[in-house]
């Protein structure tokens, strides 16, 4: 086709002109998006760091520059350290519970075939619900007086296990994390189902012909095939766990006595209940640094892992 196009030699100079002028075209197409990102994402991010250098209750021009004082205080703040630890527990359990459970369920659902189609609809329901809705429902479920969880336990004659789940500082974090898992496992299931759907059927068939059993297929074929998906799942769940807010805030507000506090709930209370804007900004900036560093490290670590395998 192009062999006989007379226009071809003519297009060469016009293309160089085109390359030059595309800078302006591109600017026009990018400007609205970039402007929005600068105003609502980049500027606030930088502004947060600036605010962290102030001592300010948010009212009028009472702000006082205190340098790195807030950051120094943060390092000795027991509540903040508890919050980081709780975020760590959340991240650890997310990776140990949500990803394997999501993976196994996706594998089962994928194997179960057409019969599971109707069920799939129900499996993903939690993904549609807002965290406030989920938190509210589970607060009732955990309720020590009329909550179904305790009444089921009592009906099974497991009265000893009936607890004040959200009111007990030793249990609140775990009780909240259980709900976090309930909310997020369907997401990982979906992620792995997407990964599995791109797996060539020949891979399985060949393995079955060679006499491989289901568990062998899972460990030797499916798992290595899903490596990339597992890697993004890990990055997503780590980043997500470090900035978790909604469910914790709705269910416990970080309490009782900071037992379920995470960085975001502590930041929220510092700013909007104690009106300590500078300190709250230091917490949220620290959160950003932690998330960025962890994201970078995980990406690098899993990439190395991937090339080794």
């Amino acid at each position: 086709m192009s062999l006989i196009t007379p226009a071809k030699p003519v297009r060469v100079p016009s293309r160089t002109r085109q390359v030059r002028s595309q800078n302006w075209v591109a600017a026009a197409f990018l400007l609205p998006a970039l402007l929005t990102l600068v105003v609502f994402l980049v500027y606030p991010l930088l502004s947060s760091f600036r605010l962290s250098l102030l001592n300010w209750n948010g009212l009028g021009n009472t702000a006082r520059f205190v340098g790195l004082q807030n950051w120094a205080d943060l390092l000795h703040d027991r509540v903040f350290l508890t919050a980081i630890r709780n975020n760590g527990v959340l991240a650890g359990l997310s990776i140990l519970v949500q990803i394997p459970l999501g993976l196994v369920l996706a594998f089962l659902l994928d194997r179960a075939g057409r019969a599971s189609r109707a069920l799939k609809v129900l499996y993903f329901l939690p993904l549609l619900m807002s965290s406030v809705a989920i938190g509210t429902v589970f607060r009732s479920i955990y309720d020590p007086n009329f909550g179904p969880l305790n009444s089921v336990l009592r009906a099974l004659h497991l009265d000893v296990l009936a607890q004040d789940w959200l009111g007990d500082p030793r249990l609140s974090l775990i009780a909240v994390i259980a709900v976090v898992c309930w909310q997020n496992v369907p997401f990982y299931m979906l992620l792995f189902l997407a990964g599995l759907s791109s797996m060539p059927a020949e891979l399985r068939e060949a393995a079955t012909l060679d006499g491989a059993t289901e568990p062998v297929i899972f460990w030797r074929i499916t798992l290595p095939f899903l490596q990339g998906t597992i890697r993004s799942a890990m990055v997503l769940s780590l980043i997500g766990s470090l900035r978790y807010f909604d469910l914790v805030y709705v269910m416990t507000g970080g309490g009782p006595s900071n037992s379920s506090e995470v960085m975001a709930t502590y930041m929220y209370r510092t700013v909007f209940s104690s009106f300590n804007i500078g300190y709250g900004a230091a917490i949220s900036s620290a959160m950003f640094i932690i998330v960025a560093v962890v994201a970078g490290l995980t990406l690098r670590a899993t990439r190395r892992f991937e090339t080794e395998v």
Binding site: Q22, T36, S131
Partner: protein, 280 residues
């Protein structure tokens, strides 16, 4: 081999079914509890077993909620979600077109920076955006939510749509070029229509997130008249702290719109939710 297969796979099949059923119960029982409790009277929830059907279908909670400011919250939710999604689609498809098909300096760098926006936690921007909304006078209006919603939807949307547009065959573009189409025509007449499935995915994925968004709505609005549905649950909790059926009626009502949408557009919505999985 055919002789051994049924024997080895039968217990595993039972196991599969069992696991599927157990997980199904774990997923759905909270929903059953929610709806069941919302149609009980307040005294019933203390005097009857949790899983017992209500003695009488008590819809007074629903009536109370519907006669309250529920529709105001619903109206705000629809307004904020629709405006934010339209803006997100417009801005992200334009940017994706530039990243996927235009040659300009900094293309790679800017794209990486935009995608890096994925890791920014909303909480870091919360205080400055709150102060900003007060300064420009949109605080406590539904408009305050649109800017942050669009901005936080852009990185993932641009990422998805750029991938999408890169797959559109060059020949189409060249053919349009020969017909004398400029970049604007190319974008509007070829790329946007061909990206319709991608745009639907982006709209659904972000729509669910915006519909359920809590913290910006909580911080940037205060009057129930200006708040969105997730806040309806929150505000009702403050109001009816001990009336569990009423609270669960609100939760049911706020969840209903998405569940209805889900019943109709199941496959699409699942695809849309999967879009989030290409992150990272």
């Amino acid at each position: 081999m055919t002789a051994t297969r049924p024997r080895s796979s039968r217990p595993s099949r039972t196991l599969v079914v069992l696991a599927a059923v157990v997980w199904l119960l774990i997923t759905t029982l909270p929903f059953v509890f929610m709806v069941l409790t919302s149609v009980k009277s307040q005294s019933d929830i203390y005097s009857t077993p949790v899983w017992a059907l209500p003695r009488t279908l008590d819809l007074s909670s629903y009536l109370a909620v519907l006669h309250g400011p529920f529709f105001g919250y619903l109206k705000n939710s629809i307004f904020v979600a629709v405006v934010s999604i339209v803006l997100t689609l417009l801005l992200s498809s334009m940017a994706a077109f530039a990243f996927a098909r235009l040659r300009f300096r900094l293309n790679g760098l800017l794209f990486s920076l935009v995608v890096a926006g994925l890791i920014v936690p909303v909480h870091v921007t919360l205080i400055p955006i709150y102060l900003m909304s007060r300064a420009i006078g949109v605080y406590d209006t539904p408009f305050a939510l649109i800017g942050p919603y669009v901005a936080f939807a852009l990185p993932i949307s641009i990422f998805i749509l750029t991938e999408f547009m890169r797959q559109i065959p060059r020949e189409l573009e060249e053919a349009a070029h020969i017909d004398g189409a400029g970049p604007a025509t190319l974008y509007g007449r070829i790329f946007v229509p061909l990206c319709a499935p991608g745009l639907a995915t982006v709209a659904i994925y972000n729509g669910i997130g915006m519909w359920n968004e809590f913290i910006f709505a909580y911080v940037l609005t205060s009057n129930p008249q200006n708040r969105t549905l997730p806040l309806a649950i929150w505000d009702f909790q403050g109001q009816y702290s001990s009336n569990v059926p009423a609270i669960l009626a609100v939760v049911t009502l706020t969840t209903l719109p998405l569940i209805v949408a889900y019943i109709f557009g199941q496959e699409r919505i699942i695809q849309g939710m999967m879009a989030g999985s290409v992150k990272g």
